[in-house]
């Protein structure tokens, strides 16, 4: 348990599994004896909109949402989403970006261009930026849907959380039939950082 509150922002596109991810991270924080709050987005945005899950833990947490400039880590499931939420990051915070590209409506309909290099701009602003093709790793592990767990692996190793703690949480939360692939994907991610 720690005095300072840790703030993690998980951002992506509705349907990418941000909810499951925040639940795994929150479960780890519970196991380690913290007070934990998680704010989720259900409903309309889950239909392909920009979604955010917020995990906060420490000795005592009040607000379930993270203020701008306060997030320690942003975990982005999609390339441009980290940039959308970047103002929530502490200046010395960390960003992990999956290079998966999901075109938003204005891009699909040709009204805007997809800012393909935006993750590089983020990296230029934030020294602690890691860019990864988690989707590719997940495919190699046997299921494209395990990309989120690859990212959980990277996040937890970057934060110095013991792998066993996270594997325990994954085992508790992920359905049994998907467990093996997920553990494999997690370990792949964990040894990347």
């Amino acid at each position: 348990m720690q005095d300072k509150i840790t703030n993690i922002l998980i951002v992506g596109v509705g349907g990418q599994g941000t909810l499951l991810t925040s639940r795994i991270i929150a479960q780890v924080a519970v196991q380690m004896g913290n007070d934990v709050k998680v704010s989720e987005i259900h409903g309309m945005a889950q239909r392909g909109g920009s979604v955010v899950s917020q995990v906060r833990y420490g000795a005592k947490v009040f607000s379930p949402i993270i203020s701008k400039g306060e997030a320690d880590i942003i975990l982005a499931f999609e390339k441009i989403e980290a940039a959308r939420w970047l103002d929530y990051l502490r200046p010395d915070g960390m960003v992990i970006i999956n290079t998966e590209r999901v075109n938003p409506l204005p891009v699909m309909s040709g009204k805007m261009k997809y800012p393909d290099d935006i993750h590089e701009k983020v990296a230029a602003l934030i020294p602690k930026t890691t860019i990864v093709d988690a989707t590719d790793i997940a495919v190699r592990c046997g299921n494209i849907r395990a990309a989120n767990v690859v990212l959980v692996g990277m996040l937890s190793s970057a934060m110095g959380i013991p792998a066993e703690e996270v594997e325990k949480a994954i085992t508790a939360i992920v359905p049994a039939k998907a467990l093996e692939v997920n553990l494999k994907a997690f370990r792949e991610g964990y040894q990347l950082m």
């Binding site: 259900h42 945005a45 239909r47 392909g48 607000s63 938003p104 409506l105 891009v107």
Partner: protein, 580 residues
């Protein structure tokens, strides 16, 4: 052991521990998980009702029959249930009844931002507001006691941020509460004017008793610290206040109607500056001011949307806004959109192509209103489409009706579209109505409803036959069309619009996300030799097809489920099928 629960699960758990045996709801974000999780408990009854009015009426019956009963809905659902609400507040309860109103400041998934604490004042019922999942559980339990003690239903008012935030909860044991005896008591339960007069007296009496209770209940508490700033708050904003002003003195209200006048006066007298922090309407602030207490609130704090610790710190103590990296402006917006393979997509493509006036309704298909589909003219509330179309016809004549359609989902039709259709037939309308039957309530996360033939527990139930129902209402022209067959749909629409009679086209195809939908047997690709880059397929707004700027050609993306829509709209046959 403590565990994480979202507020909605905690409410269900609280009702279960309080011995509730009946729960009813119509789905609606952010309330849906409440009765859905209650249904997971054994030995209790839970139902998806056809709409919120019925949910509250079934709840009232269960309460009068002696059971502790939970009824849940989103904020606008309370409007639908308002008629029984205003009279059930007169009859009072037998078994305790708690009605949950899940409000949505910030409009995360709603059509308005109404503040349902107002219902407490108008319908004369106590309103309780928890600020985290533990309180959601504890206050729900207490709400059942208050309901029985004061012979009134109790509203548990929550917001999206409580409903969908997980916080730590210590759960308890279920208390087995036997049914209260049922006794015939028409003076209490038959709201004839003569009897209702007597009940009104009782209601005012119990409101006075509740006012006294409010002064001493542990639901309201003072947290005294530095007295230069005193804040009255409730619900999730309490958490923001604690975070932004760790040393301020706070009066935290768990019972927000009726308010503890004396407690508030005592608190006000002890602080130099008094502020009310409440999202949306100044419900507390205006009452406090009416008692001659100097107080501020909405002159600094907005009536719009959600608050946050950061917002409160900026507004109340002028702390600077955090610096911006300025990169956000470069990011295209990402609104929600219809899924790849969604059976609604083709409908709106067609409606726009045919330049029809579209009286729309609420559901996933409301996304057909936004770019690039832009196939909807109006959307007011659930069930409004059919009445709106009829009103347009009555205002502008049958010529106008010949280019107007009402579009409504299956769950919404059952919820509140049926009476509109009766009106069309009864009053000689000629409207063409499309019922988008995707065999589920997709928008709120795929709940069953009477026309899916399954209950909340996925048990088989008699299946409401929409076609037979529509015919029984008196619509002679009823047909069923597959909305992914655009030619057939277009032909059907033209024929029915030309008819000077009401018609219903049932667009029948299950939601693409339902597990029973078979995997595609072929895949779709773009033949680059033929593609002219005309972008007709792109105007479908589907994640399955995108445009390559460099080559000026369309391309099929991995998310494609081979629904075949882009293949049908392509004028050059450049989009083709191939083996998987």
């Amino acid at each position: 052991m403590k565990k994480l629960l979202i507020g909605n699960e905690a409410i269900a758990r609280g009702a279960y521990e309080a011995g509730a045996t009946v729960a009813t709801a119509y789905p609606g974000t952010p309330s849906t998980e409440i009765v859905n999780s209650f249904a997971q408990f054994e030995d209790v009854y839970a139902e998806w009702s056809p709409n919120e009015k019925v949910a509250l009426e079934v709840g009232a019956g269960a309460s009068i029959a002696g059971a502790r009963t939970l009824v849940a809905m989103k904020h606008v659902g309370v409007n639908v249930a308002a008629d029984p609400l205003y009279s059930f507040s007169y009859t009072g309860v037998n078994g305790g009844l708690v009605i949950v109103s899940a409000d949505d400041p910030g409009l995360h998934s709603s059509q308005n931002e109404q503040d349902n604490r107002g219902y407490g004042r108008f319908a004369k019922m106590p309103v309780i507001e928890p600020s985290d999942s533990q309180e959601a559980l504890d206050y729900t339990k207490l709400a059942f006691d208050i309901s029985e003690q004061f012979d009134t239903m109790v509203m548990l008012r929550i917001t999206m941020r409580l409903a969908h935030s997980q916080t730590m909860v210590e759960t308890g044991e279920r208390q087995e509460v036997p049914l209260k005896p049922y006794k015939k008591n028409p003076q209490k339960y038959v709201m004839l004017p003569g009897f209702a007069k007597g009940r009104h007296v009782e209601v005012e009496k119990s409101m006075l008793e509740l006012q006294e209770y409010a002064e001493s209940t542990a639901l309201n508490r003072m947290e005294m610290d530095d007295t230069s700033l005193g804040i009255i708050t409730s619900g999730v904003p309490y958490q923001y206040v604690k975070e932004a002003f760790p040393h301020a003195s706070i009066l935290k209200l768990g019972l927000v109607n009726p308010l503890p006048k004396e407690l508030i006066k005592t608190f006000a007298a002890q602080v130099d500056k008094l502020v009310v922090v409440e999202e949306l309407e100044p419900v507390i602030e205006e009452q406090v001011r009416s008692w001659g207490i100097e107080v501020s609130g909405k002159e600094q704090l907005t009536l719009l949307g959600e608050y946050s610790a950061e917002y409160l710190a900026q507004k109340l103590t002028g702390s600077p806004a955090p610096q911006s990296f300025g990169i956000e402006q470069e990011v295209p917006a990402r609104p929600p959109l219809l899924c790849a393979g969604c059976p609604h997509r083709g409908v709106f493509h067609l409606l726009r192509k045919m330049r029809l006036v579209v009286a729309g309704d609420i559901g996933c298909y409301t996304l057909g209103a936004i770019s690039p589909l832009e196939g909807m003219d109006t959307c007011i509330c659930m069930g409004a489409s059919i009445g709106t179309a009829l009103g347009m016809e009555k205002a502008r004549g049958t010529e106008f009706a010949a280019k107007t359609v009402a579009v409504i989902g299956d769950s919404t039709f059952v919820h509140s579209g049926i009476t509109g259709l009766i009106d069309v037939v009864y009053n000689g309308g000629t409207s063409t109505i499309m019922i988008l039957d995707n065999d589920t309530t997709a928008m709120t996360g795929h709940q069953d409803h009477p026309a899916t033939g399954l209950t909340i527990r996925k048990q088989p139930a008699p299946k409401l036959d929409i076609e037979a129902l529509v015919k029984a209402i008196g619509v002679k022209n009823v047909r069923i069309v597959d909305p992914l067959k655009l030619d057939e749909l277009e032909a059907a629409l033209k024929e029915e619009l030309a008819r000077r009679e009401p018609s219903v086209i049932i667009c029948k195809r299950p939601c693409a996300l339902l597990p029973e939908v078979p995997k595609p047997t072929y895949r779709i690709y773009v033949d680059d030799e033929i593609c002219t880059g005309c972008k007709v397929c792109i105007r479908l707004g589907c994640t399955g097809v995108s445009f390559r700027d460099e080559e000026k050609k369309a391309q099929i993306n991995p998310g494609c489920v081979a629904c075949g829509l882009c293949e049908q709209v392509c004028k050059f046959d450049a989009i083709k099928q191939a083996e998987v």
